[in-house]
């Protein structure tokens, strides 16, 4: 099937795929009216990819949904939304239905929930066709097969009858995109289409989206918070901040010369691979200058904080099924006072290793020594001594605090359990110190976890991990749930704390830029096996393993020019 649409350039300059005029969106909530989008105006040309960027709560998703009239009942809209020249807000239900899918289609963030689990994907694709055209079942099916082939699903004839759960995450997202493409819409709205995916898969999906524009001539509205993705894909960028549209410009201009202060701040917080080397060098100088910081002097500190040999960790399988091996024969070491970055995609076993070191997951085989003690087969009583010297920072700041206890109570918990404080009141001063160490006001002790923002909670989480002055801290994706700017601040705090307290750390993450920033050493994991292990600079600048190389290549660089040239080098996306 050849694209029928004329190239974007053929359209007159005035043509607009999407036009927002003074759009305001407000919500009626339990607590009153909340303004989500504040009088924004925006226009998107056909055949162009426009990225809307911003942090949580900036109103970018609401804006995108308003294009299809998909706002909840408690939303009230002012201003105009024009899609393909049609005023969306004034449409009747049936007119709206005719518009949806045909003029504009949507790609959602989470492919696994965007597909109805009880129907085959072919059925779901055909459904869109049949909703807009009179078409026989057979014809709809063959169109479904064709579109699946075009989005790169192997064996589409067979897989058109598969159910969603029979596809991998990346394939599901391809199916979702196929569903959007099949009606040849002039606008595709993609809401964080790659956030739930691994880096390597993300690269493939981004490529597919680019083809959507090139081959199908669709205008794409891309909602994202990832500046790398923006640099990779977008033609134009619109920056939103707390419901306002603060800046709209071509992508090169945004990256090269951001005008608005917020845009500058946003870009400034973006981490780039390779920056770490420089920072590390500077940091090393500082440490040398201030010789004999606390941690280094501990005489009893063993040479290796963590020493794993041929580590094997399994999870019990279901009824009558073999155990699942999560980690298989991994050997690694973390010297005292050093930070090991543990990198890998989802399912690589990185978190499992972290949990095993903390004694949260039993080890099936191999050897694991933590701070000089073997934790394999150790009883809870024996582990208890060790636990005083361990700190753990969890990924999700929302769930790592008991919602019913105040921050003060949470921070006092380790002190009470270890016997250092008798009660929450007795621990008050120490809690205040801890809060101060993570740059939070002491008054926060009386607040409840849900009253803190994500970044504040992650700081508190750090404070809790440090309460007993541990010799080893395990940080499991501590920043992956945070906004870019918050992430930068938390990472900075982590580094300075690590310098001050001198603890060894295992830093688990999927983000290579973060590893680059914080770690002295890197271990790369893939499907439970160690692929590469060495000093950060060596691994990142000169990866030996092909997987590490591919991983590095897949990370989009937050610089449109560089990214464009990189894309030229790397092989175009085959299947």
């Amino acid at each position: 099937m050849t694209p029928q649409t004329a190239p974007a350039q053929a359209k007159p300059e005035e043509a607009r795929a999407v036009e927002l005029k003074q759009l305001s969106i407000r919500f009626d909530t339990d607590g009153g009216e909340v303004t989500a989008v504040n009088a924004i105006s925006l226009s998107i040309r056909p055949g162009e990819i426009t990225a809307i960027v911003g942090e949580s709560g900036s109103g970018k998703t609401v804006t995108a949904r308003s294009l299809l009239g998909l706002l909840p009942a408690n939303a009230r809209t002012e201003g105009a939304v024009l899609v393909d020249g049609t005023e969306v807000t004034a449409l009747s239900r049936s007119q709206l239905r005719a518009l949806r899918g045909k003029n504009a289609a949507m790609v959602f963030q989470e492919p696994s929930t965007a597909l109805n689990p009880v129907y085959p994907v072919g059925w779901q694709i055909a459904e869109g066709l049949r909703a807009h055209r009179r078409i026989s079942r057979k014809a709809a099916r063959s169109e479904a097969v064709e579109i699946l082939r075009q989005v790169g699903i192997p064996e589409p004839e067979k897989r058109v009858g598969y159910y969603p759960h029979q596809f991998s995450g990346g394939q599901k997202q391809r199916v979702v995109i196929a569903m959007a493409l099949v009606l040849r819409p002039s606008v595709i709205i993609a809401d964080e289409p790659t956030t739930a995916l691994d880096v390597t898969v993300q690269a493939e999906i981004l490529d597919l989206l680019r083809r959507c524009r090139d081959e199908f001539g669709a205008a794409i509205v891309l909602i994202t918070h990832n500046m790398g993705v923006v640099a990779d894909l977008a033609d134009t960028v619109a920056v939103m901040y707390k419901g306002d549209l603060v800046e709209q410009a071509p992508v090169e201009k945004i990256f090269a010369a951001p005008e608005h202060a917020y845009t500058r701040r946003l870009l400034g917080a973006v981490l780039r691979l390779g920056e770490g080397k420089e920072r590390r060098r500077r940091a090393a100088e500082v440490t040398e200058a201030g010789t004999g910081s606390e941690g280094a002097e501990q005489p009893s500190a063993p040479e290796l904080a963590v020493h794993a040999q041929e580590l094997r960790i399994t999870y019990p399988g279901g009824l009558g099924k073999p155990d699942i091996t999560a980690v298989d024969g991994v050997s690694l070491a973390v010297p005292a006072g050093q930070v090991l970055g543990l990198v890998g995609e989802s399912g690589s076993g990185k978190s499992t290793i972290g949990r095993a070191v903390a004694g949260l997951t039993p080890v099936a085989g191999g050897q694991l020594k933590v701070l000089g003690r073997s934790v394999i087969g150790a009883r809870e009583r024996q582990l208890k001594r060790l636990r005083k010297d361990l700190g753990f920072v969890f990924q999700d700041p929302a769930s790592s605090f008991n919602p019913l206890l105040s921050i003060g109570q949470c921070l006092a918990e380790p002190l009470i359990v270890s016997g250092e404080a008798g009660s929450v009141n007795a621990a008050r001063s120490r809690v205040a110190e801890l809060l101060d160490a993570v740059q939070l006001p002491a008054a926060f002790a009386d607040r409840f976890p849900h009253e803190l923002s994500g970044g504040q909670r992650q700081r508190a989480s750090l404070a809790r991990a440090l309460a007993l002055q541990p010799k080893l801290v395990i940080a499991d994706e501590p920043t992956s749930a945070l906004d870019v700017s918050v992430q930068a601040a938390v990472l900075e705090l982590f580094q300075s704390l690590q310098r001050d307290f001198g603890f060894a750390a295992i830093f688990i993450t999927h983000d290579l830029a973060v590893v680059d920033l914080v770690s002295d050493q890197v271990a790369v994991l893939r499907s439970g096996q160690l692929v590469e292990h060495g000093p950060t600079d060596d691994v990142l600048s000169d990866p030996q393993d092909p997987y590490t190389q591919r991983l590095l290549a897949s990370v989009p660089v937050p610089d449109p020019t560089e990214q464009r040239s990189r894309r030229g080098e790397s092989s175009p996306l085959g299947q």
């Binding site: 909840p72 361990l390 769930s399 008991n402 849900h450 906004d483």
Partner: protein, 361 residues
């Protein structure tokens, strides 16, 4: 920010950053009151109706001696026996029963019996069910497996039969007030423990993997402390619904046992099911007052309790909750509104669907 975060993570919105000091122990955070303040429209109507009915029943139980002209087992007034099956009159507002008791008096006093059964039954099932569920969910292993199979087996047991057998075993078949109440309560407990067990076990399994429990384990918190302070306290969110269901079921079982003749002796206490049983034969004789009032009392009581339970469940589940329509409060005032632990802070539950997304992206 991402769909993988559970609903409680929605508080990164600016609105949630509090501007006022702690309000931890305010009465507004008390269970039912908090929900009452949260509710709107139909849901509020349901909740209030339920609360009013339950309140009236409570009042009837406590003030029974003041409201009623006679005692529940009184057969004789100043002019001798009341007489059986007397039609409603000035002396007997709702007539008299086949046994010659005053229907109004017995209907009112019936609330006392019903409430006693509810209290004892709920206390028993709650305590045992929660303890077993907690242990089973937290420790797992063979204890868990055995308990699950046993709970499932009890579930498959016809409840009423179980209740009858338990009633005979417990009270030795005797029909004293406490014998009857304990029998019903234990019977209800046997039936309901599996339900508490299931719910608490499921919650425990969920909470056990929550980061804050792991955080507690990492610092070496003793197991009992984890179970009580972290798991149990957070596992109680479905309990209000279960408790009300349990209460409603207790009333119905008491009535069913009474109806089948395993209940409480009429001179020991007033019990609706028993009175209803005795009135079955009256209906065909055109004597309606002996069955209608005790029957209506059962329905009303169960209705009230269930309305409260259903509304609480609706309010706890963001999917089912109706949001308040326009309100004069300014947006920033949301911060001082009570915020549920369920995370519907400022009414902006996380994007699970179009009807729920708010001003976040």
């Amino acid at each position: 920010m991402s769909a993988t975060t559970p609903p409680d993570s929605s508080t990164t919105t600016p609105a949630a950053v509090p501007g006022t000091a702690s309000r931890r122990y305010s009465w507004r955070r008390l269970p039912v009151i908090r929900q009452l303040r949260q509710s709107v429209g139909v849901q509020r109507g349901m909740l209030i109706t339920g609360l009013v009915i339950v309140g009236l029943m409570l009042a009837a139980a406590l003030l029974a001696p003041l409201i009623t002209p006679y005692g529940p087992s009184q057969l004789r007034g100043e002019d001798g026996l009341f007489g059986a099956r007397q039609a409603p009159s000035a002396e007997h507002w709702l007539g008299t029963t086949a046994g010659g008791y005053d229907v109004f008096t017995r209907t009112i006093y019936g609330t006392q019996t019903a409430l006693l059964v509810i209290i004892v039954a709920v206390a028993f099932s709650l305590f045992i069910g929660v303890a077993l569920g907690l242990i089973s969910g937290y420790y797992g292993g063979w204890v868990d497996r055995v308990l699950v199979v046993v709970a499932d087996a009890i579930y498959a047991f016809p409840t009423l039969l179980l209740a009858i057998v338990t009633a005979i075993v417990i009270s030795g078949g005797s029909s004293s007030l406490w014998g009857g109440i304990m029998a019903t309560a234990v019977a209800i407990t046997v039936v309901f423990v599996p339900q508490y067990f299931r719910v608490i076990r499921a919650e425990t399994l969920r909470i056990k993997t929550e980061a804050y429990v792991e955080a507690a384990r990492v610092i070496g918190t003793p197991t009992l402390r984890i179970m009580v302070r972290h798991v149990l306290r957070n596992a109680t969110r479905s309990l209000p619904l279960l408790v009300t269901l349990n209460a409603a079921e207790a009333i119905l079982t008491l009535a069913a046992l009474g109806f089948l003749g395993f209940g409480i002796e009429p001179s020991a206490a007033a019990e609706w099911g028993y009175d209803l049983n005795r009135s079955v034969s009256d209906v065909s004789s055109g004597i309606w007052w002996t069955s209608l009032f005790p029957g209506a009392a059962i329905v009303l009581m169960v209705l009230g309790v269930t309305l409260v339970g259903e509304s609480l469940q609706d309010l706890a589940d963001p999917r089912l909750r109706t949001r308040r329509r326009t309100d004069s409060q300014a947006p920033q005032a949301t911060a001082s509104a009570p915020v549920s632990a369920g995370g519907a802070a400022a009414g902006v539950p996380k994007g699970t669907g179009p009807s729920e997304i708010g001003p976040s992206s």
